[in-house]
Amino acid sequence: MKKLNFILSGLGGQGILFMTKLLAQTALNRGLKIMAAETHGMAQRGGSVVSHLRIGDVAGSLVRAGSAHILLALDENEAYRSLPFLTRGGRLYVNAPVGVSVRKEVWPYLERMEMTCRFFPASETARELGSPMAANLALLGFFAAFQNGPLPGHEIRQTIEQASPDRFREINLKVFNRGFERGSTEREKAQGL
């Protein structure tokens, strides 16, 4: 199997680490090898958090700049900040409020590099369901709807079910599913064009 490189970025406290663990565990459950790297320490004190996740037979834990296939960003600014990680043809999923779109300075670069960029109001989605801290799961659900590859959406869902503490399981799945629904709708729309 070819290697798959993820970058997950956001701010301390947004649950980047939990997202990474969910994807890693899903891969592990399928018998795939994983290596991940994370930033510690300053993350709690307002800093940017970047998590690297590599699936496949890899030796190093860090994703090399320009070789991430997927970028999941819980914050708009952090999405731009970690853009240099994305490879040609890579896909970018960003948590941003409704009405926000890609900055005009960035658009030509994305086009030229054949990168797909999808914005999704993950924070609002999570808040609507009464779980404002679960934007990470909403974005994960949205992303999962576009997944054919080694991490199918229903297996990510299974991992969330197994990994969530009892009192959060139901709401976690609800948020993930809502993100997945929205993602599916958007995917169908895009394919219909």
Partner: protein, 619 residues
């Protein structure tokens, strides 16, 4: 029965130690090593082992305690960050000569970059200096196996062994296969042998001779230490370029060569670089016209290569001499070297364009800052208000971020807040200059290395105000306990030794405890302390600013929450943003004044006291 589980690198090391029968583990917190001890505690609990664990007060203390356990015949380990090894260096140097009976592994975690250290020094050079073997893992699984190998080697040769995982191993995650961990039932014993355990200089000479012989033997062992020291040369073949790499850079090189499908470039892996495997490296180098050395963060391997003409590395300027060797950096170095030797370069171009684009976006700078509600913020505000012209000597911890409030002028190493305060005092006093000095140090840092400096300062009659910022935890490294509340590594209750008692023991007569949330009171107290310091019959004044860390004591740190808002009385002077710097206070462009981000606000209510126009109010 085995199962797979994802482990943090530091957890893999904990696992490796216990699998190898380690019975004693000591540590002082320091990024990137801090998780090792808690992971040991968790495994000891879940596997029902009988390992003794301890948060020691500093790294030298940790090493000495582990050393004694190893002398008593048990397998022992101590864990620290790379600069912590500097603190333990005195013990290490001596221990190398003396050796142990049970295995002793010193785990010293490096921080190339640095990400959160005062230096990015290379522990492998410390191993060379101390004359002890060192192992350099390239991933969590290897770190796990090397922990066991270190203990085996240490016991076989009766020499301490250093394990040096870098941050990209410590904080990496990888799936490991787990089985049952047996208990180690070895009992402590001590055989009197003063010629060894209390060796005086004449005996030290003999021990040194013995040490040198051990190192020669280990070097030969390292020549064949598969799979840690290996190369992939084809016998009889010669190559225009070979790569010599160890630790994390080895993993990076391996990935690059595999992606690029470059089997024309042989690699020699050096996971056990000292004592240097002379024969193995000679085999490799003689088969290559040129050799590129990729290692972090210094020339531990490169320095041992005798034929300088062949070697490309830091010394020749081909590899940067500072900073982390991130994968993209390694890629660029390899590509440049290949092309300069007129060999085929690597396929992809750099990320220069994307980096330029991002720079031009002027994204908000996310500088680290104290948390909303942090008592240190209140302390620094009060200190600066009360003594604006003072020199603010400070130390290492969360409170170093007092820099953002203009409350930190110096930060050198653990305990230097106090030692530099007395140093500055005497330097200015010599010229009869009355220079106020306010030193700030954390509780854990004070227990670590505050007392020696304070005793010295009292003994030599220095004069300054010392504010011990007591948030009752070791916060920056992950909320580890201190002797202040007496909680031990296994969560049991140990002896409580409050700061007041230790400070009094250092000869201080002015000791006052205050809650820094009361800014007005704290300002008054600092002024009173200043009078005492100036009084010829006075001395050093110590203020203990005590309030629990809002993260460590999330439920109890702010017993009475106060919702706050900024009124129209705000004149946009930005005093609060510049001098109080709480992340929950921000400039609202639409409102045209400062506003409170209720999602971030900890509701500590401290900001109400600081606005000169009283525009911040409780609602």
């Amino acid at each position: 029965m085995t199962h797979q589980e994802i482990f943090l690198g530091n957890g893999a090391i904990a696992l490796g130690l216990l699998e190898a029968g380690c019975q004693v583990v000591t540590s002082y917190p320091g990024t990137p090593s801090s998780e090792i001890l808690p992971e040991v505690v968790q495994l000891v609990r879940s596997e029902d082992l009988n390992t003794y664990v301890e948060w020691s007060t500093n790294e030298k203390v940790a090493l000495d305690n582990a050393f004694a356990a190893a002398v008593s015949g048990k397998r022992a380990a101590c864990c620290m960050k790379q600069v912590g090894l500097n603190v333990a260096a005195d013990s290490l140097m001596s221990a190398a000569y003396v050796g142990t009976i049970g295995g002793l592994v010193i785990i010293s975690c490096d921080d190339p970059g640095p990400h959160s250290s005062q230096t990015e020094q290379d522990t492998r050079l410390m191993a060379r200096f101390a004359k002890v073997p060192v192992l350099d893992p390239c991933d969590p699984e290897e770190a796990r196996r090397m922990a066991g190998l270190a203990l085996d080697l240490s016991e076989e040769f009766q020499i301490p062994v250093i394990l040096r995982p870098a941050i990209r191993v410590c904080h990496a995650r990888q799936a490991l296969l787990l089985g049952k961990i047996p208990r180690n039932g070895r009992k402590a014993s001590f055989q009197k042998e003063p010629g060894r355990w209390a060796a005086t200089p004449k005996f030290r000479f003999l021990l040194h001779e013995k040490l040198n012989r051990k190192l020669k033997e280990i070097s030969r062992r390292f020549d064949g230490l598969v799979p840690y020291n290996v190369h992939n040369l084809t016998a009889g073949k010669s190559y225009p370029l070979g790569i010599l790499a160890g630790g994390v850079p080895y993993a990076v090189v391996k990935d690059i060569l595999s992606e690029e499908e470059r089997d024309d470039i042989p690699v020699m892996k050096l996971g056990a670089p000292y004592p240097f495997p002379e024969r193995l490296s000679e085999d490799f180098i003689s088969a290559c016209d040129r050799v590129l050395v990729l290692e972090e963060t210094d020339t531990a391997i490169e320095y041992f290569l005798r034929n300088r003409e062949k070697v490309l590395g830091r010394l020749s300027g081909h590899v940067p001499s500072q900073g982390e060797l991130a994968p993209e950096t390694v890629y660029q170095v390899m590509d440049r070297v290949l092309r300069s030797l007129e060999l085929a370069g690597l396929k992809q171009s750099g990320q220069g364009e994307a980096m330029e684009l991002v720079k031009g976006l002027n994204l908000p700078v996310r500088k680290p800052t104290l948390c909303p509600g942090c008592p240190h913020r209140a302390s620094f505000f009060a200190i600066r208000k009360a003594r604006p012209k003072a020199i603010f000597t400070s130390d290492i911890g969360c409170y170093t971020l007092g820099l953002n409030l203009g409350g930190v002028d110096t930060c050198l190493d653990m305990g230097a807040a106090i030692t530099m305060a007395s140093g500055f005092y005497h330097s200015f006093a010599q010229d009869q200059i009355d220079q106020p000095i306010v030193a700030t140090i954390g509780d854990s840092t004070f227990y670590h290395s505050g007392t020696a400096g304070l005793l010295n300062a009292v003994y030599n009659d220095a004069r300054f105000i010392l504010v011990i910022l007591d948030n009752q935890t070791t916060a920056m490294t992950g909320m580890q306990p201190t002797p202040g509340l007496g909680i031990r590594a296994d969560a049991s209750q140990g002896k409580k030794i409050p700061l007041e008692r230790v400070v009094a023991g250092c000869g201080i007569d002015f000791i006052e405890v205050i809650d820094p949330y009361n800014i007005g009171e704290m300002i008054q107290l600092i002024k009173k302390a200043g009078d005492y310091v100036k009084d010829p019959n006075g001395g050093i004044a110590v203020i203990i600013a005590r309030h629990p860390c809002v993260i460590a004591y999330r439920d109890t740190a702010i017993p009475e929450k106060v919702k706050v808002a900024v009124t129209d009385a705000c004149v946009e002077c930005n005093f609060c943003l510049d001098r109080f710097e709480c992340p929950a206070l921000y400039k609202d462009e639409t409102l045209g004044r400062t506003a409170v981000n209720q999602a971030l606000c900890a509701q500590c209510g401290v900001c109400i006291q600081i606005c000169p126009k009283e525009a911040i109010v409780a609602v």
